[in-house]
Symmetry: C2
């Protein structure tokens, strides 16, 4: 993975990564199996709205209405904010649908020697594709990328029944309180 990860996440590169080239090991020694032909993992593209990307995201939370124009604009906003958004998706080439997605988002700091903090966000796998360890693959790749790009810490928030899943990647429940204020449901 070390040899390919820069390439994989180069925001200017739209070429696909072949699943068979990706093999990464869990901390606990479990390695990924090829989940079946035709699945590829690659960065999000600005036309993935046509590959049911938003339908997939609606399995995570509320998506609402997003036009193609808004989608492209949001994609460009993220790209312009260099070194900040890394969104990895899994496409099923047999159906041309996005079936998994997760984001790594960086935050520049002055603390920790002007370091950067990373966040794992919006992890979702299509219900029909569960059990293939696709979520594990996405998260593992993003954690590796975070480490490679030199974060001093990664964080995420998740439902309590997912704590064990994230412990696989070296995350531990923090003893701080996580607080939110919602403005729009």
């Amino acid at each position: 993975i070390n040899g390919t990860i820069n390439y994989l996440f180069d925001p200017n590169i739209l070429e696909e990564i072949d699943w068979s080239k990706i093999k990464c090991n869990f901390q606990n020694g479990v390695s990924y199996k090829k989940p079946g032909d035709g699945l590829v993992v690659r960065p999000l593209r600005d036309d993935d709205i046509h590959r049911d990307y938003l339908l997939l995201m609606s399995q995570l939370t509320k998506v609402g209405i997003v036009t193609e124009e808004q989608f492209k604009k949001r994609f460009e906003d993220m790209k312009r904010c260099e070194g900040t958004y890394y969104i990895l998706v899994i496409e099923d080439k047999s159906t041309n649908k996005i079936v998994g997605s997760s984001s790594l988002i960086f935050e520049q700091k002055f603390i920790h020697s002007a370091g950067q903090r990373g966040r794992i966000e919006d992890v979702v796998v299509n219900g029909d594709y569960r059990g293939k360890q696709l979520g594990k693959l996405l998260v593992q790749l993003l954690v590796l990328l975070g480490e490679l790009l030199g974060v001093y810490k990664l964080s995420l928030e998740c439902k309590h029944d997912k704590v064990g899943f994230y412990e696989n990647f070296g995350f531990a429940k923090d003893d701080q309180a996580f607080m939110i204020r919602r403005f729009i449901e």
Copy 2:
């Protein structure tokens, strides 16, 4: 505040805001008192490293070594990433020192109608200035700014003894787990 907040946070504007012009009300009706002459609230500047900004941050967490060049570079990185970083500081004009700081950081999303999420980060007030409600002022301004710029949610993580403080601003403890993995201490 509504009339001045755009101005206050315009990243191109370096003019100072006079404390006496700022008066905002808590949800619970507490209003800010002028804490004493010579305190101003304004956006961070790229030369605040010379106003003990990093010394202040070291009251929050580990700062390590940050050269003037690194500081300026980090500041420029943040500025380039338009609409993302809003860092508000309080300067004591009698000593030319920064005595309080807090950040509001936006994250662009595809979910929630291509909405944006905000985070309150790195809230710190110099120990010698506590009891003047400076932390409240910073957080309240950033929450207002988040609302004004249209976040669908704001979040933060904090020590358990600060939960009551953040409840003042409409935050509530979320029932998700907050998890971290630290790469550098």
